[in-house]
């Protein structure tokens, strides 16, 4: 910084540690095997639990006889569902789950009984002694059938198996569609996929009979929400429960709910007064699922000749699986996501979520975004063809900018979306490739966004969403207490960088204490792409609070005004005169001598949702991240196999606090999207049995499946954020399916409307439209430049 300048580094947006690709704070532990995950924990007197999983998907429980299992040597206890009938869910709205099935089973693999023993082996052997009798009911495995089945109800209270419905209407969609020059309409289906985190869910519950307190170690994304769920489900005072989150081996949203195992282990530990460990096998992890909802969508988009979008009319049916969970939030989130990233004023949304006898889906990276983007981005491509406007141009015409207000009054306070669109179009030479590549080769455009910072709390709705406390002293350096969870995305590193930036001290002088409800203050947790934005604000505010106290001492000592001080390289100095300085720790020591430890506190709550419409609390966001993507594919004309050759991406995540971590989020997020686009789907047979509950039949992408990457973080700074950063964890996953669909269309002229895009589907589509395909072979360009169709 210019020495004579009166600007602080923040004013000129030049930072010391923010913006650096600092390696992960906990990285050393992870590369050496020292990092402890839940299943690695070994406590004195540990016992091991196993769950008896239902062999049928839907049925009345006639008998669960555990008497023989109870007698088995080494078994400490066995519990069944009816002993613990209290229902739970993500919040109080519609609790439907119980730790173990009561009276009825609703999905394949649901727990019927649980055994705790002195070893896992003995627990497993005892399971074989449990005698179960279930009267099977017809399994409902298709959302449409389920809705139509009035007398086969999965939950007695849910008429037509309907879980939730949602409706939103802004403007006048019918009128706008009637006046549109071009209307495109299509139906889509996105499959049910699983989070596929390599660490299956694991829990250690440790009840201390002396203190009558319970400590739960669990790889969960939301420590405080989990604490609430446990307290209410097993009837314990909240403050008698401490949740500790060890390292989490991947979450992606799927670890935002309490698994039954957490409640089972807690119940058992309280009963036997010993620690209980319960780690799911891979098949159990897939039965518990909480991955992405399968979704049927039908979408109409209306455009004027000049390419401006006039109306969006979307109706969806979500396959909800057996339980409620995050379902209502997904339903409203899809509604909220359709308002952006294009300037559409007339919007109609109708959504339904129905119960089926399948593993319950929940939250997964780009929650609601994959479904919405698959439909919208495909229809944009169709419209581009109809309008004779290049898909890139069509998106530019309609892209949101900073300051845009949605018809729902949600405001986009910062957007560099157009830069993203431009970046990928230029780097890929899209204009010269689209519609011009040889048959079998294709290029596809798609784009998207995601909310960042979270707008609603599941509990305690008037509390701050994030709070951070900081203690600074010469005994421990700067110690930050914050409830956010690092699930691998790097929040611990990013939060540490933010604290360092405020104090002007090196990374190793900051201790970051998180993931523990006893040590860290209440936090909304890691979901909704809110960590960097929400918790980042809280940490910065807390650090500023502590720093102002240190500055007061330094100012008096140096004889300058506190607001004219800056911190850098462990020195506090005048922004006007570098020669007037004091060592940071010396100032801390001086403060301590008189007033004791320096404490700082800060919090963050996003602006309250405004407007007056149904679903308004879900989706509005203090910030939005944006992404634009282009896929280049090769389609094997004989087999229908799609190979992704190259993937271009551009991200607006505001200021990248840690650019290498941002790239990691983009690359990982896109590859997760590619998994869903091409290979992933949980397959359930007509009886509700999961056919691929393992990682050889349920395939996630390997090294062999990833394309060459070309990504860019566009220059951006969101002034509403702490140091300008916003989300990047979710947006990149959303548009991938559509990018591939659009590229396949460009390659072979057939529009796939369903993922995963298996070779079989492409092969059939190519055959089904053989004549059209042949025609296209010679007139690909002509087809893409089709005349504008008037409606």
């Amino acid at each position: 910084m210019d020495q004579d300048s009166a600007y602080t580094r923040e004013q000129v947006r030049e930072f010391e540690i923010v913006g650096q690709s600092v390696p992960r704070v906990e990285g050393y532990d992870k590369v050496t095997g020292r990092a402890e995950y839940t299943d690695d924990i070994d406590l004195h007197g540990m016992t091991y639990a196993k769950v008896y999983c239902s062999p049928v998907a839907h049925g009345i429980i006639k008998k669960v006889d555990v008497s023989k299992a109870k007698e088995y040597p080494g078994v400490l206890d066995v519990i069944v569902g009816e002993e613990h009938p209290k229902k739970y869910s993500v919040n109080d709205l519609l609790p439907t789950e119980t730790p173990l099935a009561v009276d009825k089973v609703r999905y394949f693999g649901e727990g019927l009984a649980a055994v705790v023993a002195i070893s896992e082996q003995i627990a497993a052997e005892a399971l074989a002694l449990i005698d179960v009798e279930i009267e099977e009911l017809p399994a409902l495995v298709n959302a449409h059938d389920s809705e139509a089945s009035a007398d086969n109800l999965i939950h007695d209270f849910a008429k037509n198996n309907t879980n939730h419905t949602a409706e939103q209407h802004f403007g006048d969609v019918d009128d706008a569609l009637a006046k549109s020059d071009v209307v495109v309409e299509e139906t889509f289906y996105t499959s049910m996929v699983n989070g596929g985190f390599i660490e299956t869910q694991s829990v250690v519950a440790d009840y201390d009979p002396g203190k009558r307190k319970l400590t739960v170690y669990n790889c969960n994304q939301l420590a405080h929400t989990l604490q609430h769920t446990i307290a209410r489900t097993i009837d314990m005072p909240l403050d008698d429960i401490r949740v500790i989150i060890p390292n989490v081996g991947g979450g992606f949203g799927g670890k935002t709910e309490a698994t039954p195992s957490v409640l089972i282990a807690s119940i058992m530990s309280r009963k036997i007064g010993r620690p209980v460990k319960l780690t799911y096998d891979r098949d159990e992890s897939i039965y518990q699922n909480k991955g992405r909802h399968a979704c049927h969508l039908s979408l109409k988009l209306g455009f004027n000749k000049d390419g401006t979008i006039q109306a969006l009319d979307l109706s969806i049916l979500l396959d909800g699986g057996a339980h409620s969970g995050w379902g209502f939030v997904v339903l409203w989130f899809i509604a909220a996501l359709t308002h952006l990233p294009y300037k559409v004023r007339n919007i109609r949304y109708e959504g339904r979520r129905v119960y089926t006898n399948k593993p319950t889906p929940g939250a997964q990276r780009s929650f609601g975004g994959v479904q919405a983007r698959t439909a919208v981005e495909s229809c944009f491509d169709m419209a581009a063809v109809e309008l004779g406007i290049n898909p890139y141009e069509l998106r530019m015409i309609n892209a949101v900018e900073t300051g845009y207000k949605c018809p729902s009054v949600v405001e986009v306070r910062h957007s560099e979306f157009k830069k993203c669109l431009e970046s990928v179009a230029t780097r890929s030479d899209f204009a010269n490739k689209w519609g011009k590549l040889p048959r079998g080769k294709g290029i596809g455009f798609a784009a998207g966004h995601y909310s960042s910072g979270g707008a609603f709390l599941l509990y305690n709705s008037s509390r701050a969403h994030s709070t951070a406390n900081i203690r600074v002293d010469t005994e421990a350096g700067a110690t930050v207490f914050c409830g956010v969870t690092d699930i691998g995305q790097g929040s611990t590193t990013v939060m540490t960088q933010i604290a360092c930036e405020v104090f002007g001290i090196p990374m190793r002088k900051v201790n970051f204490i998180c993931q523990d409800t006893m040590l860290a203050p209440m936090d909304n947790g890691t979901m909704d792409s809110r960590a960097t934005y929400g918790a980042g604000h809280a940490v910065k505010n807390a650090a500023l609070d502590a720093r102002s106290k240190i500055f007061d001492v330094a100012a008096a000592h140096l004889g300058v005004r506190a607001e004219q001080l800056q911190c850098k390289d462990e020195l506090i100095s005048s922004i006007y005169d570098d020669n007037r300085f004091i060592n940071f720790w010396e100032a801390v020591r001086m403060y301590q001598e008189v007033q004791g430890t320096v404490f700082g506190t800060g919090d963050y709550t996003p602006p309250q949702p405004r407007g007056d419409y149904d679903g308004k609390i879900i989706g509005p966001s203090p910030a939005f991240g944006f992404t634009a993507q282009i896929a280049e594919v090769d389609v094997n004309l004989r087999t229908g196999q799609v190979k992704v050759l190259k993937y271009y991406e551009a991200t607006d995540c505001g200021k990248a606090v840690n650019p290498a971590s941002v790239e990691g989020q983009v690359e990982g997020g896109v590859v997760m999207g590619l998994g869903q686009a091409l290979i992933e789907e949980i397959v359930v047979d007509r009886n509700g049995r999961v056919l691929n509950p393992n990682l050889h039949d349920y395939k996630i992408p390997t090294t062999m499946d990833v394309p060459e990457f070309d990504s860019e973080i566009v220059d951006a700074y969101d002034p509403t954020s702490a140091y300008g950063g916003k989300e990047v964890g979710e947006a990149p996953t959303g548009p991938v399916c559509a990018a591939i669909m659009n590229a396949v269309y460009d390659a072979v002229g057939v529009r796939l409307t369903e993922v995963p895009i298996t070779p079989e589907k492409v092969f059939r589509a190519m055959r089904g439209q053989h004549s059209r395909g042949l025609e296209l072979e010679t007139t690909t360009i002509g087809f893409h430049n089709a005349k504008i169709r008037s409606v």
Partner: protein, 166 residues
């Protein structure tokens, strides 16, 4: 039923009582407390449990302890020496080939096995050589970067890295 086996793990001898069906993963994780070796499937699908046996990568979740007597077993705990990282560990750390870290010990051991067999693999060979290790977080790009950097000699004089910027 149980029997004593003599295992050589990370250069030290261990006598352990094992059941005939006990895997190396069971032994190191549950009996010896070396939990650096991770389990993601216990069916040979994910590679998280990869270790080296006589220098070659093996899946410890499907390798029996009783069949491993007299062999040289190396787990992730055996790579770091006196606080000094193996070049692959350091490269994965610095290039951010690690996110959640659950796949990381397996990724590192596989990369080790790959480089033992082929010290100068090209990109294609790295892709194929690492195809048995699932990573849900990184999209593999940064893992490739790290291995390529090691192949190119960037980490030949690996010193203990500082965690974070100084």
């Amino acid at each position: 039923m149980k029997q004593v086996v003599h295992l050589n793990i990370n250069g030290s001898p261990y006598d352990v009582m094992v059941a005939p069906n006990a895997t190396i993963a069971d032994v190191v994780r549950r009996q010896l407390g070396m939990t650096g070796t991770k389990l993601g499937c216990e069916q040979g699908d994910c590679g998280a449990c990869t270790i080296l046996i006589d220098g070659k990568s093996h899946l410890s979740c499907i390798t029996l302890a009783v069949a491993s007597e007299g062999k040289e077993i190396v787990t992730i705990e055996g790579l770091e020496q006196n606080g000094k990282l193996d070049p692959i560990q350091q490269a994965i750390l610095e290039k951010q080939g690690v996110q959640c870290g659950i796949c990381t010990p397996g990724v590192i051991m596989s990369a080790k096995g790959l480089l033992n067999e082929n010290p100068k693999p090209n990109h294609e060979e790295i892709v194929v050589g690492m195809s048995g290790n699932l990573c849900r977080c990184t999209g593999y790009e940064k893992i490739f970067d790290a291995i390529e950097a090691v192949v190119e000699g960037e980490y030949d004089d690996a010193a203990t890295p500082q965690v974070g910027a100084e």
